[in-house]
Symmetry: C2
Subunit: 438 residues, 2 copies
Amino acid sequence: MNTEGDKPLKVAVLGCGVVGSQVVRLLGEQSGDLAARVGAPVEIAGVAVRRLDAPRDVDVPAGLLTTDALGLVTRGDIDVVVEVIGGIEPARSLILAALENGASVVTANKALLAEDGPTLYEAAEKAGRDLYYEAAVAGAIPIVRPLRESLAGDKVTRVLGIVNGTTNFILDKMDTQGSGFEEALEEAQALGYAEADPTADVEGFDAAAKAAILASLAFHSRVTAADVHREGISDVTSGDVRSATDMGCVVKLLAIAELNATESGEEAVSVRVHPAMIPRSHPLASVREAYNAVFVESEAAGQLMFYGPGAGGAPTASAVLGDLVSVARNHRQGTRGVGESAYADRAVLPMGETRTRYHVAIDVDDRAGVLAAVATAFATHDVSIQTVRQEGRGDDAQLVVVSHEATDAQLSATVEELRGMDTVREVTSVMRVEGTDE
Amino acid sequence: MNTEGDKPLKVAVLGCGVVGSQVVRLLGEQSGDLAARVGAPVEIAGVAVRRLDAPRDVDVPAGLLTTDALGLVTRGDIDVVVEVIGGIEPARSLILAALENGASVVTANKALLAEDGPTLYEAAEKAGRDLYYEAAVAGAIPIVRPLRESLAGDKVTRVLGIVNGTTNFILDKMDTQGSGFEEALEEAQALGYAEADPTADVEGFDAAAKAAILASLAFHSRVTAADVHREGISDVTSGDVRSATDMGCVVKLLAIAELNATESGEEAVSVRVHPAMIPRSHPLASVREAYNAVFVESEAAGQLMFYGPGAGGAPTASAVLGDLVSVARNHRQGTRGVGESAYADRAVLPMGETRTRYHVAIDVDDRAGVLAAVATAFATHDVSIQTVRQEGRGDDAQLVVVSHEATDAQLSATVEELRGMDTVREVTSVMRVEGTDE
Ligand SMILES: NC(=O)c1ccc[n+]([C@@H]2O[C@H](COP(=O)([O-])OP(=O)(O)OC[C@H]3O[C@@H](n4cnc5c(N)ncnc54)[C@H](OP(=O)(O)O)[C@@H]3O)[C@@H](O)[C@H]2O)c1
Ligand SMILES: NC(=O)c1ccc[n+]([C@@H]2O[C@H](COP(=O)([O-])OP(=O)(O)OC[C@H]3O[C@@H](n4cnc5c(N)ncnc54)[C@H](OP(=O)(O)O)[C@@H]3O)[C@@H](O)[C@H]2O)c1
């Protein structure tokens, strides 16, 4: 229990960029409320940056800025370190030094957690300190805490997340304005939703880091970014988006973590990021613009969804400060909150064994026997067909096939075979289908 | 810290009905996971019921059932008490006895918390024990914990909740099937979404209890059910629903808690439950059937929404067990989680001073000067008009007025005056408008 009276809690903030500047601002503006909620005043002990003289979005109190981040975290009187520098190094070394020096840590660093989380979790465990990271997944949206605490008495079976605002913005524009990918990307860049080099977002790297963190939390297992099958949205065409519309679906980039059965009947984690068609009636379908949302299925609770802004300085700082209050309370009481738990230690399923559904649009010759030939290709690979729709005639003839669940390997072998068939002119669209009831 | 090794945690479950039976089932089925997450085995010490021989949805292990709830909670070795009896007494006395006897408590009892929460919070504080109640608001949806912990570094300004599944089901049917209220209510009853006596749901009592709890949490103040302005949905007509559709809106029963400025410029809490029109583009508009959702606006995070099943045995039990794991962990460590906090101690604003917007549909005589007369009635009460739309001609002439924000008192005085006017045949629909940007 609290033996320190109202001794202020000393917080070191590492980084004062988009997120850090808002953390510093809120620490100032909310200081009365924070003190009431923590049970002691919260004081900024220092703010580490790379360049002392860079312009900042906040007035950092004189004397607090320093370029010696390591000196700050190891100076001996720091209770909580907030790491909002980003990237692997020096963030990792600084977090490890903070924990070794008895500080608790709050970080927004998805890249580091997805690459080397276990090193950090073990260091926190060893130090008996907290390492909280609500802001690392889906910005302001409370999702880490609900998964770790609210659902601690339930069994999560699937997580489907729209966890990258840039790609959601692009796909939303393709859907609602009929834009092509390039045009929508340019619009996103013009509005500041996409960076000049959009690779990390568009190719799904950012979403993959979050998928790894979500999978680890949901399934109490260790999943890193390297385990995540990743496909971006740069190959999504206007035709795919129209095909989705025709099916009553919309295309979203999803971060998916789910329990699948292995061939020997054990439960393994399938974790992947790829564009997928989901029904327009699905709660995720109405997530527009750059918003994020995480849809969670669990055995007892059923279907839950958490929605909000997935990025931005102030929203992300809100999540950081929520963690800061928890961590500060624990620190004062000499306790720890819920730490990482990997007790279930489930294996990660190779993508080929993951069970999914495919939507395949095929330009075909309009002659007798084509449908039978296509159906045979599916049957050969043990993929059962849910619906086939024929569209157009003559030169415009198209078959649109939606499969039942099969392994991804069976499905891609089927598509491979279709591509080699005489009667098939072109396979114009191949996309996974998610969020349906089967 | 844990000084008790792996000594099992003893849980007393009070009530074994819709929710209690699922709590007992999950405690059995999830025991391995629960032990891993709590850090010790969790053991059911007893299950209190009213009738020993009643049929149950779960096989309660022999010897655990008892009708002596008080004997169970006071027997001396109980670590955690789960109260899922409901109602005021004996639930309140049992919770107080549990806390006095050193147990931590998890409850789903919104009625009790809304009526007499402070008595319980003080008892928990005094005993140094936890009192958790995630299941009391919006069933399975994690909302208490996000408000209390995730947003602890932010300032919540408004909460809009669809927190009653029965009324959402009825309004959804009126919207999508064009049903009248009675017809939709009968459908809800036939499907088990509404009780034979639907008063508590339909007249907004259930939502008002949840509104009080949400307001207390969001604004760190004490708000009870008696503070909540409450209007149900039994007067909502097909005409209102159609008017909403014409405006691009949908009618929902909302539990609203927001910060409003008093005339002297202080911040006070407005807390109310009433049907309202919200734009179809609002995230709450797509909450269908009996689902619940809570939409939260805060200064830094912006707009968040939490969605899921608001009732049902298993979903509610999921929330209870999430709390149980937290409380059990704290109990073992000899600490407490975040307790109730009423430090902000804000006043509750009378409904008359609450600022809202009105949608008013008026059957008028189709002659020159009618619009001017209606506009004058609004102006007299200092209510500014956002839009007026004239519909129909002759005997069918109707004016549809949407006001800007004004106090509820000004707005109802305006409607009163309209009702007395010569040129006004009938005020056919009056409804508040929420979730718009003004
Ligand atoms: N931006 C978002 O919307 C968002 C959302 C969720 C999570 N996050 C995560 O939050 C973290 C920070 O993101 P951000 O957007 O705020 O980044 P940012 O704007 O680039 O800011 C990075 C800050 O770190 C400082 N810095 C860089 N190297 C340093 C070093 N060696 N020592 C001390 N300080 C150093 C920089 O100093 P100078 O200012 O002097 O250059 C800058 O203030 C990242 O992990 C990111 O993934 C961001
Ligand atoms: N049902 C939901 O979907 C839902 C959702 C959210 C929150 N809640 C809340 O959860 C609580 C329980 O609701 P419920 O639907 O499970 O109620 P329920 O089905 O009516 O069950 C009540 C249980 O309490 C027992 N009981 C009644 N009086 C008792 C007494 N004096 N001593 C010992 N046991 C007694 C009953 O025993 P017998 O079985 O022997 O009659 C029964 O098992 C309520 O506070 C409710 O508001 C319910």
